[in-house]
Amino acid sequence: MATIGIIYGILVIALVASLAKSREKTKKAFKVAGKALLKTGPSLLVMLCIVGLILGLLTAEKISSLIGSEAGPLATITAAIIGAITLIPSLVAFPLAGSLLRSGATVMTISAFITTLVMVGFVTAPMEAKTLGKKFTLLRNGLGFVAALLIALAMGVIL
């Protein structure tokens, strides 16, 4: 909720400033916004449905049982893949990661889950590609996945 408040607050200030300076330009801003929204709208809806599907199937309990308390590279890779394909709010993800850690998952596995969760967005990729380009998206997510695995490895060794 706070987020929404901040965004609307910024918008109101920006709009008032913009209107005060030029009505013409403000109108143009609305046009640009509408066009962009129409262009990305369909891929957004697709994204929403996929997010819903994945989260409906992969509940917190399911993720726990998949990552489990097992140690070893397989658990880490599984965690990395789950992190990459899901889009979980951090308020849910961190408590889940904490409880997995306490129930016996390794630091490496947990960091793989958290880093891919935040650095790789499989379900947001269609929207990213629409706005920022296919190559950009592919590179950012691909490199992000590799980086996340390396980070997990380093964290497992250090901590």
């Binding site: 801003a29 916004a33 997010v51 850690l101 880093t115 706005t131 590179l139």
Partner: protein
């Protein structure tokens, strides 16, 4: 025709779920609806902000603040912009796209998106609470390092093989 394939596939999956796993189907529909409500609230103002940015932010300013020659100050500014508490990552894509169009460097846009998703301040506080200072601090440092490397690499690759849609359109 091609753009109808994903929606049809999704509809089929949902249909299958409703037949074989009605419980999961219900959960999925609920999550989708929740996210839809959230997006319906957040996206219109975000796109409008992007429109305002597009109209008002002077290209040369963005170029000097965040462009290829903005140096360390540009990187710091990108991370600072990204870590502000402002919502889910899909909100950042249109903003990043308009920064890119206005002349921000690929490296800085990668930093901005990366810190938006991975280094958000409210998110870090939750992380500290559940995973501890050591975990959060180490992840922060390593992620920042990774983002800098990724940005540099992507800048090099994309300057040789640019995305078609990000090239300057003659108007």
């Amino acid at each position: 025709m091609k753009k109808f394939i994903p929606p049809i596939l999704i509809a089929l999956v949902y249909l299958g779920l409703f037949i074989w796993l009605p419980e999961a189907a219900l959960r999925s529909s609920k999550v989708t609806l929740d996210y839809f409500k959230e997006m319906a609230f957040i996206l219109p103002p975000v796109f409008l902000l992007m429109g305002l940015m597009e109209v008002w932010l002077p290209k040369d300013k963005i170029q000097s603040w965040l462009g290829n020659d903005s140096g360390l100050r540009g990187s710091i500014l990108s991370v600072a912009l990204g870590t502000l508490p402002t919502g889910p990552v899909y909100v950042a894509f249109p903003i990043a796209a308009s920064l890119l169009k206005k002349g921000a460097s690929v490296a800085n846009v990668v930093l901005f998106l990366g810190s938006w998703a991975a280094l958000k301040i409210p998110q870090l506080m939750v992380e500290v609470k559940f995973l501890g200072w050591g975990f959060a601090a180490l992840r922060f440092v390593l992620t920042l390092l990774a983002l800098v490397l990724m940005g540099t690499l992507m800048k090099a690759v994309l300057s040789r093989f640019p995305d078609k849609q990000n090239q300057e359109k003659p108007e």
